[in-house]
Symmetry: C2
């Protein structure tokens, strides 16, 4: 396997391709450096040359046309939604065209009776929820960033509500996508279940742009709960917080969100949002249901928390108070960055069976404290998934190497504990050898066989998940 940072030989873009794109797309095809650079960078730390051109699609036919032209000229196509990837998915490691679908942002249908919506791939989760609110519905998947639904499907995203509502894996019912030949393919339907042939929908979900460009998604939505309440509770240790989460899940409490923030993360959000929270490990929880149901869930969780030394719950029952708490959670990443001005973050994403979660978090803290890097932790602990962010001074290149070594240790530990190297961010550029460690050569060989069968020219976001 090539190292992801090996120098790639990027041939110049064929003149005939650029001429054809300009003829078809006029000012929606750009080679301006600023536009290309904006499309050649994401939230990751990778630094590679930008794509050679950017095309802004406004419809499925545009996408099909770009892919067909790129296939004809053997040039890479890199789908671009909101640019919020964390694993280098958008980077033009082999050159090529960034295909920006952010203007394909129409909400096509809301079928409230069936609890489904159909959207273009550039629709973002906030935009969708804004439109759904008036229908008494919501789309639960919340990865933090205001990501596009196409990108969320491509990375199999999840986030804070997954413990109750599942991830993109469970919530995408149907797709339309353009395959590597430029053909338009439909998979799935609005029916909630089906046994009709291979699950192409689930194959595209998490394929990171390497099998096709998603042009339309039908996703499940949910009725807005009659009652919602949020609570925070501080614990004497991370163990105590994680044990609480685990017992709550085991008891079958349908908790909607169950987020861990470590003391460092609390310090950061206190500094950023003046929250005045106790600087100790904290669970931030949300309950959805009827008035009585929410109260009952909360009572069970309070009992369990008290057994583990949790302090009295602090409640947020009004929408404003809840928004304040969840804004803090959403700001945790950027608040954390501000704890070390000028820093960049390397963020881990392991996920393990919940019974092993305290073990991996504690071992990872011991490692990072021994190494002396600043860090903070946020976690979707109901799922066994957590993120440790290492805060690096870009002027000290040794810190990146240290962070990568810590991250590799954590992944090895997650795999030994029957977990995964990535709960929700994807493989991208930098976890390719971890994928092999996790699932084995045989499984990766089968993934490569699927890739070769569906993209024989290797033009769909090449170099991601595995090198060509």
């Amino acid at each position: 396997m090539n190292a992801p940072h090996a120098p790639f030989a990027t041939p110049p873009l064929p003149v005939a391709l650029l001429d054809a794109l300009r003829a078809d797309f006029a000012d929606r095809c750009s080679t301006a450096l600023a536009v290309r650079e904006q499309h050649g960078r994401d939230e990751s730390v990778f630094d590679v040359p930008p794509p050679q051109a950017v095309v802004f699609a406004t419809c499925e036919a545009d996408v099909a046309r770009v892919v067909a032209l790129c296939a004809q000229h053997r040039v890479p196509v890199i789908p671009y939604g909101a640019g919020s990837s964390l694993e280098g998915h958008l980077l033009a490691v082999q050159g090529g065209i960034s295909l920006d679908v952010s203007r394909m942002n129409a909400i096509l249908r809301i079928d409230a009776e069936d609890l489904t919506v159909t959207v273009q791939p550039g629709v973002t989760r906030r935009q969708l929820n804004e439109a759904l609110r008036h229908e008494g519905l919501f789309f639960p998947i919340d990865p933090g960033a205001d990501a596009s639904l196409g990108g969320m499907a491509a990375t199999r995203a999840s986030g804070t509500n997954a413990v109750r509502y599942g991830t993109m894996r469970e919530n995408v019912l149907a797709l339309r996508f353009v395959n590597a030949n430029g053909d338009i393919v439909r998979s799935g339907s609005r029916a909630r279940k089906s046994s009709a042939g291979y699950d192409l929908t689930r194959l595209l979900v998490g394929s990171e742009g390497t099998l096709g460009v998603i042009t339309e998604l039908t996703v499940k939505v949910h009725p807005l709960p009659e009652a919602v309440s949020a609570a925070v509770c501080s614990f004497p240790s991370i163990d105590a917080a994680v044990q609480t989460a685990m017992q709550v899940i085991q008891l079958g409490v349908p908790i909607a969100r169950c987020e861990l923030l470590d003391a460092n993360a609390i310090k950061a959000v206190n500094a950023h949002d003046r929250l005045g929270l106790k600087e100790a490990p904290m669970l931030l929880m949300e309950f959805h249901g009827s008035e009585a149901g929410v109260a009952e869930q909360a009572a069970v969780v309070q009992d369990v928390a008290a057994d583990h030394g949790g302090e009295a719950f602090e409640w947020a029952t009004t929408p404003e108070a809840r928004t304040r708490l969840w804004t803090a959670r959403h700001h945790a990443y950027f608040s954390g960055l501000q704890m070390r001005p000028g820093c960049r973050a390397v963020t881990t994403d392991t996920c393990v069976p919940i019974s092993r979660l305290a073990e991996i978090i504690n071992a990872s803290i011991a490692d990072v404290e021994a190494a002396g890097l600043p860090y903070f932790i946020v976690g979707h602990v109901g799922d066994g998934n957590f993120h440790m962010a290492y805060l690096l001074d870009p002027a000290l290149p040794g810190e990146l190497a240290t962070a990568e070594q810590l991250s590799a240790q954590m992944v090895a530990r997650a795999i030994a504990l029957e977990g995964t190297c990535t709960g929700e961010h994807g493989i991208g550029l930098h976890k390719q050898r971890f994928l092999v460690d996790e699932t084995g050569e045989q499984a990766v060989a089968m993934m490569r066989a699927v890739k070769a069968a569906m993209d024989p020219l290797g033009i769909m976001n090449p170099g991601k998940i595995f090198s060509a």
Copy 2:
């Protein structure tokens, strides 16, 4: 595409293969006609020659050995679990070896803290639930038959609890399988979510034995609810029953089971189990939760049912009373067959968005009544899925043709209503052209490309999902 009933040229089994199988498996390799015939028939109406030999595997290495030998000799391998398929999955349409995994029936691990279990593929759902009961856990997926978990995964099965707990698609976390080369492949992990590469687990789930032989499954299990209650309610029409189910789902009531039986099905179960139920469309429902939560759910559903002319609920709160009702539901199929002694049934399996369910059921009833065939209906209406069983006299071959025509009309209608030709039974032998109608030539071409990449010799259950 070849018609599934076209005569297949089955070359005799190579002597070298049979010698090798006998050397390795001794009396676990059988060519006795009775054994072969038992493995060459399922619950479907298809009639083809039996497999040429049956091998009983007792471990993963056995499976790998059989597949490797069959690959060497280019002979089909047909995985066999409990034999309860309804779509001809087990039939040796191109000859070959039936690979019986029913003796691989060990429950390998119960990880109660993580709500996961790991089993061999021959474990049946009743066996698993028997073992889980002592742990306070249950496995929700209930297709009616006491199917094997390997077979349930291979057909993406679901059943009565899917409305709340999902199908095999949502509940399989990890697999081990033997691919067409005889290699052992691992996919997924015990982590509840992952973004690590292509979703081979979901690709195998629903692949009907055409991509590999499942040798181990890790599935989600759930805590036994604190309280369970079941209720039946009769309605003046199928419309009224379906509207009730739809509103209950829309209100976000986490109903655990929501089954429709039409008046014919009620007549059948009354005759078979002496239930004395009113012979009108009926919903059979189950609620899981806390004592208070179950009562609250039931109250909401009673209100909705009353709005649609539902009669007073008849409750079953004791385990014995619930078992009696659910036994009736599980017996519906066989009770129905007894309404026309000596008959065989052709069972449909369409699934549509729930808002279109009443429309397709009513139109299908009009069609079957015009055609004059006896029938009954059971449905997982919370999911939009229903089964109409046509009861055929085998002595009247015209009836099979009529049933097939009615079934084709129903499928065309389901597809027009944005649904699927199969909610939970699979494509098998007889729905291959419906798959093309439903998802289009482009998607089926991609499925075929995946098949060719993963099984280049075409030995894995050939002739199922699509013809070779």
